[in-house]
């Protein structure tokens, strides 16, 4: 089983960190993982994206050409990557900033008011965690417990409060799409 995902947004939205958390959690679960960022002048333009693979088998190219899922944090990211998602894949997009739906009919789109949910979670900068929570709920790429362990490792120097506040935002996203699924079912 291979989970491949592209996370894309503008600088400061924490897309690279959210991607690393998936890879870290996958590693904790004993899976093969790879994470690769966009780099160079592309970053200077204020956009950032990364690709993550979590798999039971060794990972070939770490570059995610046809992701099973896309987390689009802003409109340019949705426009750039929507066409690359595999048939039947997930497109989770930040509806706080993106005022349109998904054009493709062969993927499943999930709008998420990530900014508002982050504010509700008491963590206005936690949109990346909201989006990540939604992705984990919908894909099952890694468990929530291993994401917590990954957060504890990455934020070891910042203390347990930082872990908690991020987990809270993550669960906001998780529950938000859980509701959507139930409604659709």
């Amino acid at each position: 089983m291979l989970h491949s995902v592209i996370l894309a947004g503008f600088g400061g939205q924490g897309v690279l960190l959210a991607g690393q958390l998936i890879a870290y959690a996958g590693m904790i679960e004993g899976k093969h993982v790879a994470w690769i960022p966009s780099y160079g002048p592309e970053m200077r333009g204020g956009t950032a994206h990364c690709g993550v693979s979590v798999s039971d088998d060794p990972i070939g190219s770490p570059v995610v050409e046809e992701p099973g899922a896309l987390l689009a944090f802003n409109l340019p990211s949705l426009e750039k990557f929507e066409g690359k998602v595999t048939q039947g894949g997930l497109v989770i997009y930040n509806a706080s900033l993106i005022k349109r739906g998904v054009y493709r009919k062969d993927v499943v789109g999930y709008p998420l008011l990530a900014n508002e949910l982050a504010v509700d979670a008491g963590n206005p900068r936690g949109t990346n965690m909201v989006m990540l929570g939604a992705y984990l709920m919908l894909s099952g790429a890694t468990g929530i417990g291993s994401i917590r362990q990954a957060l504890e490792k990455i934020f070891a120097s910042k203390g347990p409060e930082v872990v908690e506040i991020n987990m809270k935002a993550l669960l906001m996203g998780w529950r938000a799409v859980q509701g959507v699924v139930q409604k659709g079912a």
Binding site: A34, P41, G60, S61, P62
Partner: protein
Amino acid sequence: MKVLMKGNEALAEAAIRAGCRLFFGYPITPQNEIPEYLARRMPEVGGTFLQAESEVAAINMVYGAAGTGQRVMTSSSGPGISLKQEGISFLAGAELPCVIVNMMRGGPGLGSIQASQSDYFQATKGGGHGDYRIIVLAPGSVQELADMTVWAFELAEKYTTPVMILGDGTMGQMMEPVDLDTIPIKTGHSEFPWATTGCKDRPKRIINSLYLDATMLERHNQKLQRKYRLISEELPRAEAYHTDDAELVLVAFGTAARIARGAVDQGRANGLRLGLVRPITLWPFPGEFLLAATTGARKLLVVEMNTGQMVEDVRLVVEGRIPVHFHGRCGGMLPTVKDILAQIEEMGV
């Protein structure tokens, strides 16, 4: 314990563990995390990090430091490695150990900053002026980047020669789990009978590659060639994957080999008898290994992130006994499993 690290950072940390306390470099994408990491780490371990005024200066600082017998490293990418060729030739000529990292990007010229394997010829055929070779290692994962850095320092000292780690932008930028605890920590450095350390209680030593007398230079060159023959006998290394019953064997290194492995898996799932040979040393090229692993194969397909470079060495090795095909992407584009399998279908297994 496994941690998630970028290839460039794992390599840099491995160099510290291997006892490297001297780094001279110049910024260029996609290897910047190496100097950035060492700029932080070197002062913590009492080492030297120096950003030189150019790649030319950096490699010559390496040349000076290597002369003292201490472990020293530089890193760069295509355009910078081209500038370093003068110094690499001097290091090879004066027989000094050092480690040079090339995180390849697309060329020629300024090219791009995306991953490529277009410096294979430059790395394996000499690169600079004169009749010399350097050892070239091709890592295939972040763990190998770290392990090969340690190995590179050992080989450099064993054979008193520069060793190049030939990675690419993808390899340097990607994060993968890596276990660095398995690398023994080396401190201090070895004593060498050629190192310039001040001539207290011994005759003076000279580090040099100038031999104005033709007979002397020929003798020096023959000595180098004897060393290169020894390396060619002792060192070649490669990895075989499902070659035992393979009718078609893919040959690829580094990032391309990871993709080729995916093609082997998917092809086998579809009933195709595919295998893979992955050269780990690019110079010396593992020719005998390749021959042994492909005795039953009817076709070879070389996959590279360039327009066809290693394929020439593969053809030299098989000497026309097996048809050798080529699949390449270049300019920073990566081959895909789908495209490789499409070409295999076209070729017929």
